[in-house]
Amino acid sequence: MPPLWKRLQLPYVAAVAVLLPVSVAVPWWLEERKLAESGAVPADPVPAQGGRADLAGSSWEVRGFLQDEFGEAEPPPPGISLVDVLFRAVPSDEAAAEKLLSCDFRAEDGRGRVWRPDGSFSTRAAVTEAGAVTPGLGGCADPEGEPLPPGEKAGVIVSFLVPEDAVDSLVFQVQVDTGSGEDEEHPRAPVAAEFRAEKKN
């Protein structure tokens, strides 16, 4: 009588056990890489070290965040907080400043909920007088929509409207494209960093 391992067809079972995960994982990994390169899914953020991170040739530093500084603007309904995150960005050269035109921001809380920036508070006097960059559709640019001057520090203020219970666990993600995305040869290939910020008020 053949041995038990032969009767149970163990070599075949072992082959299926190895090949099945490989046949699922490899196409998944290839597809995920393709989507990440094209920018169709947000880049996997790298945690900032000491509040600083380098992204596509620019250095980013988080300075903290302010909560509910509405100024002269009408406050949102109860239970909703306005969070202004303050960054300092320095593009190392012209190419890096050009790439900052693709900058994008997200705020994520401990429950995995994600918020996009809210532009409705960008005209507050305190924001405009600070001379800070308030990123809009044109990314991180000067008031004329031109790339920021290389080598100079630029203040960046990004505002989010979030439920009050999300504020304490928020982390802030900055994403910048490393490529132009004009064709498949030059994919957007975004990179991202994740910052924890201290409340300043």
Binding site: W115, V162, P163
Partner: protein, 222 residues
């Protein structure tokens, strides 16, 4: 001396029978699984629907929707967004009211995204007798207009409007599909029963208001 009967043929027979049975069961399971397959590509990624009643929030996983008001009107107009001289501005807007070829159904709802920001709303009204009407594009204020964002945990209240022949209404439900970008695949969808039928529905339709303002959507208390 007669040799004892060999037990192996009987065991082999029962072994074969169990193999045949197991194969038959596996084959049946395979056919069953095949029957469950969704063959149409669009259906395979169609919005995943939840259903509920207007008296409660309906959870469609990616968002919740709660119908807070249903109004019937002979004409509708967009409420002005100007806060100064609002009454006069609204009187002007009411002059541009659009009369229904039938009746307008104005459904006001709170929509709250669950985890990701959503921007677009597609609404359909199922009359309850087999007909479905898409929401009208007559109102610039309708939910899901440009600039409307449904952020996680922050309810946004607004209205969707439908124009339809009142005799088609039997027990209306409204389907809300809320998604982001142009991609509706695997998005959430909620079918909300307006809980109106019979004499109650007839009374509401007969008592349709002359003109109803469609308000701009606004975020609400979280």
């Amino acid at each position: 001396m007669r040799a004892a009967p060999d037990p192996r043929p009987a065991r082999r027979r029962s072994g074969r029978a169990s193999t045949v049975l197991a194969s038959a069961v596996l084959l049946a399971l395979l056919l069953g699984a095949q029957a469950l397959r969704i063959h149409d590509d669009e259906d395979r990624t169609a919005p995943i629907e939840a259903s509920g009643a207007a008296s409660e929030p309906v959870d469609a996983r990616s968002f919740t929707v709660e119908v807070v008001d249903v109004a019937f009107a002979r004409s509708v107009y967009d409420e002005s967004g100007f806060s100064f001289g609002g009454d006069e501005a609204d009187a002007g807007a009411a002059d541009g009211a659009v009369e229904a070829n039938g009746v307008w159904v104005v459904v006001t709802a709170d929509i709250t995204a669950a985890e990701r920001t959503l921007e677009r709303v597609e609404a359909e009204l199922e009359t309850g007798e087999g007909t479905t009407y898409g929401s009208s594009g007559v109102s610039m204020n309708a939910l899901g207009s440009i600039g409307d964002a449904f952020s996680p945990g922050i309810p946004r209240r607004g209205a969707v409007v439908f124009e339809l022949p009142p005799e088609r209404l039997a027990s209306p439900s409204v389907r809300f599909n809320v998604f982001s970008g142009l991609d509706r695949r695997l998005s959430g969808s909620a079918l909300v029963d307006l809980e109106l039928s019979g004499s109650e529905l007839k009374k509401a339709v007969d008592g349709a208001e002359e003109a109803v303002a469609v308000p701009q959507s606004e975020i609400r208390k979280a």
